[in-house]
């Protein structure tokens, strides 16, 4: 089940082949939903679920899909899965779905999805495609959660909505950094992560 090659498929996207910080895909949503940890985590789980299942479905259909409409078929599969995720969130996590608002729908346009379907699922077996989907989804999610951790901690002084910076600090004059909540700081945080990552993986440097 987990041969050496499959392990590479699953774990590669977590670091050496990370979709966000190495391939620079899916940046848009990484900026939009990372002001708080909770929506970032829900977004990460949603994208992982969608990319894993879309990969499996496309991989199962790969020998039947007419080549001329393969992009359309991929889009239909992704769009259907995203709508299902959106409906489930609206039903069981209404507050989070309000915060994520249009960004759930925009998973459809997340480049990671089309990239994986086109580059991997169309030419691999379902189980490998599933692992690839999980790997890429988690690789995307890790970055989202790291960015959200710093933005929520420094921007709001909370983690998952719980106050972690003690009141005493505020009494001594500490202030939350309002800039962290705004989108530009997500870009800068992602850039810092890329910096650290590249400096530890010399082979990624050009």
């Amino acid at each position: 089940m987990l041969s050496k090659k499959n392990k590479e498929i699953l774990l590669g996207p977590l670091s050496k082949n990370n979709p966000v910080i190495v391939q620079i895909l899916g940046i848009c949503s990484a900026l939009a939903v990372t002001a708080k940890l909770e929506p970032a985590l829900v977004m990460a789980v949603s994208v992982t679920a969608v990319v894993a299942f879309a990969n499996v479905i496309i991989s199962l259909l790969r020998n039947t899909i007419p080549n001329s409409i393969r992009i359309i078929v991929q889009l239909v599969v992704v769009a259907a899965l995203v709508i299902i995720v959106d409906q489930v969130l609206k039903a069981y996590m209404y507050q989070v779905s309000k915060q994520l608002s249009v960004f759930v729908g925009l998973i459809i346009t997340n480049c990671i999805l089309m990239g994986r379907l086109e580059a991997f699922a169309l030419s691999h077996k379902p189980w490998e495609s599933f692992l690839d989907g999980i790997g890429n989804g988690v690789g995307y999610g890790i970055i989202l959660v790291i960015v959200a951790f710093f933005r929520e901690l420094l921007g709001s002084g909370t983690l998952f909505g719980y106050q972690v910076i003690p009141q005493q600090m505020y009494d001594w004059g500490y202030q939350n950094n309002g800039l962290m909540i705004l989108p530009p700081m997500a870009l800068i945080t992602v850039a810092c992560i890329i910096w650290v990552h590249r400096s530890r993986n010399k082979d990624l440097q050009q």
Binding site: V73, Q87, A91, Y94, V102, I181
Partner: protein, 236 residues
């Protein structure tokens, strides 16, 4: 069969579309009751917000039952008409001419005893719809509390209208000056409206959203003017 041929492609897409349509319709219908309950609870919590009662999704229903003890629908002359105020779509009502609208009102009796009258609002901001609720004390004039929400105003600028610092400004403002209906203005800090109306500070950098709030207050509360006046003469 030739997998690259036109016939195959057309059959393939038709089959795919039908299957996907079935799956989505099934998911949407299956989850609808739960979603509608969530939307209703969210609306309750917004109405409670306008009378300065904080609620969570867990206790909103209970608090709503406790504090909002009546609701009715009036027409532009202040007469009672038939209608279901909670389910009414305010945005649809706003499209009708002023004298044909049906106007829902919610009544809240909190611990202080005097009833507050809650009026729903609906308008448009810079990027999309904005809405809210404003509660008025039983003199039909003084604002008790206000709540605004938006769909997609600019974060940090126009989106500030859904934050307490902006909403708290409305408390104690008046809708009638010398017996004439003058809606509360939303003004750039340091400026005053010409007609002597009560005013609050606009959100800096959110001019169009702030104007939207002002227009919304004007257009949504105006049809209630007769009703508010009658409250005023009854209770003062």
């Amino acid at each position: 069969m030739n997998k690259q041929g036109n016939t195959y492609t057309i059959i393939y897409t038709s089959g795919m579309v039908i299957i996907v349509a079935f799956i989505l319709a099934f998911a949407a219908i299956g989850l609808k009751p739960v979603q509608e309950k969530n939307i209703a609870i969210d609306k309750m919590s917004q109405i409670l917000n306008s009378v300065n009662i904080a609620s969570t999704p867990e206790n909103a229903q209970e608090l709503y039952g406790k504090y909002i003890d009546d609701s009715f629908v009036i027409d532009a002359n202040g007469k009672l008409v038939k209608g279901e105020s909670f389910a009414m779509n305010i945005a649809d009502q706003m499209k009708l001419p002023e004298d044909q609208r049906t106007l829902p009102i919610f009544i809240c009796t909190d611990n202080s005893g005097a009833p507050k009258y809650i009026i729903p609002l609906s308008g448009s901001g810079l990027w999309g719809p904005i809405w809210g609720y404003i509660s008025i004390e039983n003199d039909g004039n003084t604002v008790y509390g206000a709540y605004f929400a938006h769909q997609g105003e600019t974060p940090g600028l126009g989106a500030e209208i859904d934050k307490p610092p902006f909403q708290k400004q409305f408390q104690g403002k008046h809708f009638f000056i010398d017996g004439a209906f003058t809606p509360i203005a939303v003004q750039k800090a340091g400026q005053k409206p010409q007609n002597g109306a009560d005013y609050v500070d606009a959100v800096s950098g959110g001019t169009i959203t702030s104007k939207g709030v002002q227009n919304m207050l004007q257009s949504c509360v105006k049809p209630y003017a007769q009703f508010l006046e009658s409250l005023n003469s009854k209770n003062i």
